[in-house]
Each structure stands twice: as C-alpha cells, then as structure tokens.
Symmetry: C2
Subunit: 308 residues, 2 copies
C-alpha cells in the first residue's frame, strides 16, 4: 500500500493529506439545516450533516490530493450513526481513488490488536465468509503496549497489502511529558522510532516500508533527527497550519528524493471558509474554499522543498 | 461513579469484573447456528451471535458481580453491526445494574480526546439536544500523548460523574519494552502513575478517585509498588487466569481496607465451558459454566485476600 501512496504523491507532486475531522461547528448552516430537516437534531441528523459536508469537500479536492485521513473520534462521538458516516466516507474516498488513512490510534495486547487490525485493514472470518468491517488502507497505531501490541497490525498489513503509521512523536503540547523522557540519554520517542524501523523491515514496499510513523509538524528539530534515523519510514506529519507547523520547518521531514513525508491539514482545509483568507467563498461554497486551501498548501510545501 | 463501583464491590464482596471479549470461537455452536440461520454468515450474523452469547452470560452472572468490561475491539472487528452489539451489550448490562467499563484504550490530542470522551462517557451536542453516542460508565485510556490527551476525559468524568482507568503497566509480555524503561532510575510506568495520581486529585470520589489505572496481574511486584504509590487510585487488573496472573500474587494490589483493586477475567469466565474443569456443563449450558467460574474466581481472590 505504501507503493500506491508514494506513486500518487509523486504523480500529483502533492505530499499532503486532508484530515476529514468534521466538528459540527465546521459544517455550514445550509447543510446542517437540510440534515436536521430530514433526520431531526439527532445522532442520525449529525451523521448525515457530517457525511454531506465530507462529500462536498472530497468532490472538490479529490483530483489534487493522494490521500485523506478521517479521524474516527469525530464520528465515534455520534455513536453508531456517526461510525456509519465514517465508513461511508472511507468507502466514498476509495471510490474517488484516494488512499484512506484511518486515524484510529488503536493499540492493545496481542489478540485484541489483531481484532482491531482485521476490523480496520484486514478481513474478519464469519463462518465460511470473510468481510471488511471497516476498509481503510492505513491506520494509525499507538505503541505504548510494545511489540506484541503492534505486530498483529504488521501481520495484517502483510496479508492484505495495507499499512500503518505508528505514533512516535505527537504534535500536541504535552506530547513530551512521556515521549521526550530520556532513557540512557536517548528520548523515548527515539526508542519507539528504532522499533518502528525494526517492525517495518519485514513489511517493505519498493523504497519505503508499509510501517510508517507519526511525527508532529510542531517539533521540527525532532523531525529532522528522526528523518535521518529512519530513512525508509514514511512520516505522517500532523500539526501543519492550525496547530502551528510551518512549511519551512517541514522540509527536513523529507528525504533528498523529495519523498518520505506526507503532511496533514484538517481544520485549515475543511473549515477554510471560516478563515479571513478564504472568507470570500462564503459558507455556501465551503468546498471551493477547501480546494483553494489545498492548492495553497501544496504550493507552500512543495515550494519550501524546492527552495531548500 | 467510583463510589458506585466501590459500593457494589463491597456489598457483593466481589472485587472482580467479567471481560466480555467474545471471540466467535468462544460462542457455542447452537448460538452461532441460530444467528446464522437468521442473518446468514454475515457481519450481522456474527454480531447477533455475540450479543446472544453475551446476554446468556450476563443473565447468569449479573447478581454475583459489580461490573463488566466489554473489549470494544472484539465488536469493532465486525464493523457497524459489531459496534451495535457492543452498544446493546453495554445498555443491557446497565439495565441489569452492572457498572460498565468500556475497554476502548482511546487517547489522542486534546480536541480529539474530547470527542472520544463525550462519545463514550459523556454527551454530545446536536443542535439543541444532547445524546450519548455510547454509554459506558468508565473507559480505559492510553496515556502516551500526555496530560492534554487525558485531561479531556477527566473533564468529561467530572461533568457526568463517570470514570476512567489509565494504562500504567499492561499485562502483555512486551509491555516492558517502553513502559519499563528507566528515566533517571525510575521506570516510565511510575512516571505515568504519578501523573495518574495528579489527574485523579481533581476528580475524587469519597475514598477513591474517578481516575483509576490499569496494572496487569502478570507483574505482581510492580503492582505492589504501584499500590503504595497511589493509595487512592483504583487499580483495574487484567491478566488473571488465562494470561497467567494468580490470586496470591494479586493480594498486594489491594489496600488494607480490602478495596482498591478490581480483577478482570475474560476468557476464563466467558469461555469457561471449554475448560476441562467446567466441561461437564456442556456447550448448551455455557452460561452456567461461566457462573460457576465466577463463583470460583471470587472465592479464589477473596480467599487470598483474607489469608494475607
């Protein structure tokens, strides 16, 4: 699956992924109104609003980008109807030719991680049939439980040509509380990074591994070090834009081949119409605002890479 | 919510929780057959089988135990129908007066953790209404992202009288890979434990905090140390029975008041009929086997506590 992602990134010259993390407050009034008229102010109504909102954005940007990253929490908060909207969004994005990175941050002991893995990126056996419960191409994985919590995901990746991104250094302000703690002079996130490389060696694509990692855009110096430590590991980079990460800081997340990282923006793209810069589009044309924001983001990042 | 849990544990003299982690292979043939006849060998069929299996066990054991711990991965693997069975199981257990600990191990950056928290133990706003997407009483939380990933759960606990159990030292074989790493001579899991105490101080029940922790039964020496470090923190203890934890090792997870820990068994209870010891019940009477296994587990643990 990493080969497919790398190919799409190269063909589009767009190392970016759009985070489909819809808060209801991002959804324009006309979409909420239509959804609530149909389903009432219910979980079903919220799920419909989110789905229609997503569909508009995906239709507007799908020719520009290689991938989307729906954040499952934003759907899970609306219970079963919300998770149905998550599944519908993933399926629609795949129809549109996009790689789907499920930002699920799952991770548990062995047999339980295996259940998450088959549920999201594999196939579950029911009698003599197999099914995909959900159908992402990649998922994000939390490493706190160690190798036997991550390996079941790697095994499912191998069987199904899928991939994962393991949390190494997250973008949030307090990520350092545990991740930066020094173990014999080496920060914990680097120990995790070494394990990610090890897990990834048995699941290689052509140039990069199907086992990638997450390193926040908000910690560029750490990104620079990690890039060197793990040359064959694709880095999923959250935290660009709204969270404060800047393109010039991100160039060191890329290898000399211009590949090796994919930068996520969520709010900055999907709620672009709420920014002064894109206000002129108006809420009715929120998807056009998102498209312009994607164009600008690609230019910002590829421009910075070209200049380095 | 911790007050409710403690009261139930005291009244029943049963510091145990039954893990509802149904693998399809645990479900007796007659239940699978009925479910597949109705829904086919589909995700819906699997979900129905799991739900009927759970219902039988819950009916058989609900008067003996304070709480259940459904592991969401085992439902999530069956997609939306599976998650509907999870929700139905949680609701049914609450009807039966049980405290429901959702073993979801969620954790993310702030706004995303907030979405998980409202979805599982809080209420989500849709227009002028509020809803519970899911409806556990407690959830398990992964601490790798630090304070700002956990605090949104604590805030939702305070607003809704709910609780969480934060992973400190997990029961799996490779949990030590990161959790045991020494930071200035102190293992990482102890640093996490200190933070758990801090988070818990602002969310106290009468004697114990609504912010509990998870410490595996498979590491009794660490359990003994952690018990002393965090006297007001309830410890959820997985790993008893099938994973190897023994009652005599677990006595140190309890405070002098005989409280402070709740021990989980999943496979050992729900698939009891598959053990030699309970074989005589037969698959048809799997729930009676589970009841006997619960009786034996309570006796085993309370006996060990009484003897210490």
């Amino acid at each position: 699956m990493i080969n497919t992602l790398v190919e799409k990134i190269s063909n589009l010259n767009a190392p970016v992924v759009v985070g489909l993390d819809p808060m209801l407050s991002y959804v324009p009034e006309h979409i909420k109104k239509a959804a609530f008229e149909q389903y009432g102010e219910t979980l079903e109504g919220a799920a419909e609003a989110v789905w229609q909102f997503n569909k508009g954005i995906v239709d507007a940007v799908c020719d520009l980008i290689p991938a989307v990253k729906p954040q499952i929490a934003m759907y899970e908060q609306f219970g079963i109807p919300g998770l149905s909207a998550f599944e519908k969004t993933c399926a629609y994005c795949k129809e549109k030719g996009l790689v789907v990175i499920g930002d699920v941050k799952r991770g548990d002991i062995g047999s339980t991680s295996a259940a998450y893995a088959v549920g999201h990126i594999g196939k579950v056996q029911v009698g003599s049939n197999t099914y995909s419960g959900f159908s992402e191409d990649f998922v994000t994985v939390n490493p706190y439980l160690g190798t036997d919590g991550v390996k079941p995901f790697v095994d499912v990746c191998k069987e199904n040509n899928k991939g994962i991104f393991v949390l190494v250094k997250t973008s949030n302000p307090s990520s350092g509380e545990f991740q930066d703690q020094l173990v014999d002079g080496v920060p914990l996130y680097e120990l995790v990074a070494k394990k990610v490389v090890e897990w990834g060696e048995e699941c290689m694509g052509n140039t990069y591994s199907n086992v990638g990692c997450v390193v926040g855009a908000t910690y560029p110096e750490m990104g620079r070090v990690l890039r060197k430590m793990m040359p064959k590991t694709y880095i999923l980079v959250p935290g660009y834009g709204a969270q404060g990460g800047k393109a010039e800081d991100l160039v060191h997340y890329f290898n000399a081949d211009g590949l090796g990282a994919i930068v996520n923006s969520s709010r900055g793209i999907i709620a672009a119409y709420k920014q002064d810069k894109y206000e002129k589009f108006g809420a009715e044309n929120y998807a056009d605002a998102s498209r312009q924001a994607v164009v600008d983001m690609i230019q910002d990042i590829t421009g910075a890479i070209a200049k380095r």
